[in-house]
């Protein structure tokens, strides 16, 4: 039972290793850079899948939560505290180990807050914001909810674009690396490409396992029941408003963590991360992945982000994601990668297998 449930995870891990091996053997490790970025975007998409696909609550504001993670860590870790040494607060932070001293690319000594501090701050901040805007917003349904989250996304985008401390249109650059443990660091340094690929992969695998567990639990069933019928869920004792709020916060935190890590990986963050078109592309990927389908979202998330980041869509990027969304909504409102859309395929396979068995094929019972 458990083995069968987690076998896709094993397959994912194997794919991760194979892709790295191919890229390294072919001397094309730079491909791993876009895969790493795609993996972080997948964290946003996985969280959104639980919110949208499983709970049925749309959000066009997830780029904003991603940006809140990215900008929080950018602002907090790019401030050089060296001149402020001697002030009580900075000395205390240093003594508590909340700071990092290092030389930047120009050999200048800098003292800045540890990314661990900014990660925790970003998560708390995002959770709090999601919680407080979620209370009024999640009372809305369908396109009203879409409009409200869209409005929130636009506000965050304008704030980022218009504030000096967020670097306005230029964003924030020269963001230091995020030293994890055991010599691992989230960083765009080409020498650390392989380990960064694995750091992102570990986060995605952990994310998908956590959410798989969630979906298949008491809480997950409550979330799915909300999608099915809010009235019936309520009548069965599910506190619909509370679960909607908590899953909204959870998915926002996934986006925020992705934002923090990708920002340290890229060494910079810009307002395009908060752009509403980003939210549209996340939503399109959840839809094309099959809505209530974590694995579909993951596969599509890697594939489409990778193609987009490698520039295959050229200047048609927004057009591509917009059209995907329109086509899905028109023809596959329940998502594309859904079993029922592929029933003809499994039926055909079953026919082939049956005719094979009828001709006396033995020992094939272990197939499934």
């Amino acid at each position: 039972m458990a083995m069968k449930k987690y076998s896709p995870v094993l397959a994912l891990v194997i794919c991760v290793i194979i892709l790295q091996a191919i890229a390294s053997l072919a001397g094309r490790e730079y491909y791993l850079t876009q895969l790493t970025m795609s993996a972080y975007y997948c964290l946003v998409i996985l969280g959104l899948t639980v919110l949208m696909g499983y709970t049925g609550q749309i959000s066009l504001g997830h780029a904003a939560f991603f940006a809140m993670g990215g900008y929080t860590t950018a602002v907090m870790t790019t401030r050089n505290l060296i001149e402020m040494q001697g002030s009580a607060a900075v000395d205390l932070a240093v003594r508590l180990g909340l700071t990092v001293t290092e030389k930047n690319a120009y050999g200048v000594e800098i003292l800045h807050l540890s990314p661990w501090v900014s990660l925790v701050t970003a998560v708390c901040l995002t959770a709090a914001v999601a919680f407080f805007i979620g209370i009024p917003i999640l009372k809305l349904k369908g396109h009203y909810l879409a409009m409200a989250t869209l409005g929130f996304g636009i506000i965050i985008y304008r704030i980022v674009l218009g504030s000096r401390i967020f670097g306005e249109a230029d964003g924030i650059s020269d963001i230091p690396q995020f030293a994890l443990a055991g010599g691992l660091a989230v960083s765009g340094d080409p020498a650390l490409r392989v380990q960064n690929y694995y750091i992102a992969a570990v986060l995605v695998v952990a994310g998908v396992v956590l959410l798989m567990n969630l979906v298949d639990s008491r809480v997950g069933r409550a979330l799915r029941s909300i999608h099915g019928s809010e009235e019936a869920a309520n009548a069965m004792g599910v506190n619909v408003a509370r679960y909607k709020l908590l899953v909204f916060v959870l998915s926002a935190v996934f986006a925020c963590i992705a934002g923090v890590f990708l920002t340290h990986f890229n060494g910079g963050v810009g307002p395009s991360e908060a752009d509403v078109m980003k939210s549209v592309s996340y939503l399109a990927i959840v839809a094309v992945g099959g809505m209530a389908n974590l694995w579909g979202a993951l596969v599509m998330g890697i594939l489409l982000n990778y193609l987009s980041l490698r520039g295959y869509f050229g200047s048609y990027d927004e057009f591509v994601f917009g059209s995907i969304l329109i086509v899905i909504m028109l023809f596959f409102p329940n998502g594309l990668l859904k079993m029922e859309n592929f029933r003809w395929l499994s039926d055909a396979a079953a026919r082939v297998i049956n005719s094979y068995r009828a001709r006396g094929g033995e020992g094939k019972d272990g197939l499934s």
């Binding site: 099915g228 009235e231 009548a235």
Partner: protein, 254 residues
Amino acid sequence: MGFLELKNMSRSFGGLRAVDDVSFEVAKHQIKAVIGPNGAGKTTLFNLITGSLVCDSGEARINDVPIQNLPPHRIARRGISRTFQNIKLFSHMTVVENVMVGRHIRSRAGFLPAMLRLPGARREERAIRERSLEILSVMGIAELADQDATSLPFGTQRIVEIARALATEPELLLLDEPAAGLNIYETARVSEMITKIRERGVTVLVIEHDMSLIMNISDEIVVLSSGKKIAEGVPADIQKNEEVIRVYLGEDDA
């Protein structure tokens, strides 16, 4: 004292008094029926009891504790469960998963234990599944456990909905037209099922248009018409009540 007491419950939609000053009691372990013509306010009354709708005025008590205008999920925790006239099973979920949602109030794992599959959550999960499968086999639909609930035939869906409601282990079960759209065999099965549910100690309040079913199983009947209670009593008396015959029972002959 009744187990469920309704006092002067009223609810209007615009100018329409859908439930108008309705009072009655349901005793413990009773099967009580609510009948009346279409639009009489029967479903609205159920929605008021379960908190799906707030009442304009009046009082509802369960075990002498007021419940009116509590949110529905709190009322569910007070031991009231229900089915819906237009079946509301959860789509994209199997039959057993639907019933497992009924165990929600009897379990407690939150987001973190669920995501981390902590031992307590796993133990609870096993118990939820076992209990739900048990309920399915009591209802005689164990073999459907892994089918997609909303693609089942109509009659079966009604039984799944009853199973889901029973999974909450209610003290009071509200059934909104459990036999609507069923053939006579299925209706007989539902009738037998309701009697069995009462034998297990559950109080039942049932809305139904099928008179032979109602006369067979109910201890008492309340008749609503245009939102008002026009009669209440044992089946034999209701059948003889002239006003009831005029507004409701008679309509079949017309």
